[in-house]
C-alpha cells in the first residue's frame, strides 16, 4: 500500500514509496476496545455516494472497450480515494463523480464544481482518452488537458485529485 502525507498549508498530498516512520504514535486509539484502528480494513465501498452513480452509468454502456477503460479509471480513482480516507484525509465533503454515456461512443467521467470541472473522457480509441481541468476566472482561468498514459496514470490522477482536495 502507498503511504501518503499531506502538507498542512497547501493541503497537497504526496505519495511515499516507503512506510513513513513516526517519532510519536499518531494512529487514533479506539477508546472502547483499547486497540488501534486498522484502516486497511475499511476500504471505500463501491456503494459509497461518491462513486455509486458513476458505477451504475458505466455498467449501462454498450461499448465493451470504453466500459472496461472507464471501469479501470474509476477503480483507480476509488483506490486512491480509499487510501486517502484510510490515512485520515477528510474526503466526505467531495461531491459525487458523474459518468455519462455519450452518443459518440465515449464515456465522460466528470467532477463538477461551481468554479471548475475535472473530466476524464474515455474514447473508443484508447489513445484519444484523456483528462481536462477547466476553471473560471475566479480560479485563474485554467484550461489544461492531457492524454491518459499507462505509465503515469496513477501519478496523473493523484495530481488532479490534489487540485480537488486543495480547492474544495
Amino acid at each position: 500500500m502507498t503511504t501518503y502525507l499531506q502538507e498542512t498549508d497547501s493541503k497537497m498530498v504526496f505519495p511515499f514509496k516507503k512506510e513513513a516512520i513516526y517519532s510519536l504514535p499518531i494512529r487514533p486509539v479506539d477508546a472502547t476496545t483499547g486497540s488501534d484502528v486498522k484502516p486497511q480494513y475499511i476500504p471505500l465501498p463501491r456503494e459509497s455516494g461518491l462513486i455509486k452513480s458513476a458505477w451504475v452509468s458505466i455498467r449501462q454502456s454498450e461499448n465493451i472497450n470504453t466500459k472496461d477503460q472507464a471501469r479501470d479509471l474509476l477503480l483507480l480513482i476509488q483506490d486512491i480515494l480509499s487510501d486517502l480516507q484510510q490515512y485520515g484525509f477528510n474526503i466526505g465533503y467531495l461531491p459525487k463523480i458523474y459518468a455519462f454515456n455519450i452518443d459518440d461512443g465515449s464515456i465522460l467521467l466528470e467532477w463538477i464544481f461551481k468554479d471548475y470541472r475535472l473530466g476524464f473522457t474515455v474514447e473508443p480509441n484508447p489513445q484519444d482518452s484523456g483528462w481536462y481541468l477547466v476553471t473560471t476566472e475566479k480560479l485563474s482561468n485554467i484550461s489544461a488537458s492531457g492524454y491518459i498514459t499507462k505509465d503515469n496514470f496513477r501519478t496523473d490522477v493523484l495530481w488532479l485529485l490534489n487540485y480537488i482536495i486543495s480547492h474544495t
Partner: protein, 148 residues
C-alpha cells in the same frame, strides 16, 4: 458587427441537465457532421438581442411538430465566451457568428475549427458549460408570452 451580452443554447432533453440544475458538458460538444466547407464546425445558438429571442428558441419545433428543446435553454454570457477564446490553448480555434434565418433573425453559431483534437474540443465544451449563467426551463415560455 455588434453582439448582445448573452446567447442561448437549446437543451433537447433532461440528459443534458445535471440533477442540481447545471448544464452537462456534452451539451456543448461540437459534432463533425456539422462541419462547413470553410473549415468551421457549427453549433446553433440564439443571440439575446431582445425578449423575442428566447420566445423563438423555446417555441422551436422539429419537423414532426414536437418541441425541440424540451428542457429549455442555457444562457451563456458573451464576455465568458470571449474569455475562453483568449485562453492561450483556445485562441483562434473557437469563435462565434450571427447567421440569421428566415424564421429566426436571432440565430447564430458557436464555431470550432474542424481540425481541433477531440480532447481539446471536449475541454472547450466543459469550459462553456462551466460558465452557463442560467438554465431557463421550457415552462417559462408561457410567462414570456404573458409579458408580450
Amino acid at each position: 458587427m455588434s453582439y448582445p451580452n448573452n446567447c442561448f443554447r437549446g437543451i433537447p432533453n433532461d440528459t443534458y441537465i445535471i440533477e442540481d440544475g447545471t448544464a452537462a458538458s456534452f451539451l456543448f460538444y461540437f459534432k463533425d457532421e456539422d462541419v462547413r466547407s470553410d473549415g468551421w464546425i457549427e453549433q446553433s445558438i440564439n443571440w439575446e438581442d431582445d425578449d423575442l429571442s428566447i420566445k423563438i428558441i423555446l417555441g422551436q419545433t422539429k419537423k414532426n411538430g414536437e418541441i425541440q428543446f424540451k428542457e429549455g435553454v442555457a444562457k451563456l454570457p458573451r464576455n465568458e465566451i470571449d474569455r475562453l477564446i483568449k485562453q492561450p490553448s483556445v485562441n483562434g480555434i473557437l469563435s462565434y457568428e450571427r447567421q440569421p434565418l428566415v424564421n429566426n433573425p436571432y440565430h447564430g453559431n458557436l464555431l470550432l475549427q474542424s481540425d481541433t483534437p477531440k480532447l481539446t474540443m471536449k475541454k472547450i465544451a466543459a469550459g462553456l458549460a462551466l460558465v452557463v449563467s442560467e438554465i431557463i426551463p421550457q415552462e417559462s415560455l408561457s410567462s414570456h408570452i404573458g409579458q408580450a
